[in-house]
Symmetry: C2
Subunit: 80 residues, 2 copies
Amino acid sequence: MKARVHVTLKSGVLDPQGKAIAQALQALGFDGVKDARQGKVIELDLEDGDTSAAQARVDEMCRQLLVNSVIETYRVELEG
Amino acid sequence: MKARVHVTLKSGVLDPQGKAIAQALQALGFDGVKDARQGKVIELDLEDGDTSAAQARVDEMCRQLLVNSVIETYRVELEG
């Protein structure tokens, strides 16, 4: 079973990486880029099992390790 | 218009961040995590316009800046 955790910064939180990307694109001549924000996707390869149990375990993984809940938010996609 | 660029490591490319995540989850007592891989998502806020032109521009942004084509692959989602 695959779990994909999409982690993004909460809106309103400054995103220096995103700012750097937007400025670099501008410097390369790509105008019309109003803003850029960078997030991460963590793909977990889990042993097969019950989907709702897997969802609860991945939520706990996010709580304990994968997500900084002060500045980040996340959503989980389960596959297979 | 929003463009979301999903950047992942090509299969076969060593992913030290993913390995670290998998080991940390194991150490926290989450067994059954066979593998973990980390990618990034870059969300671009573009001025509205023609979708196919936007797709071509984002591809060029990926080629010039956002993606290291030696070790990474990407896909683009356009919205709105």
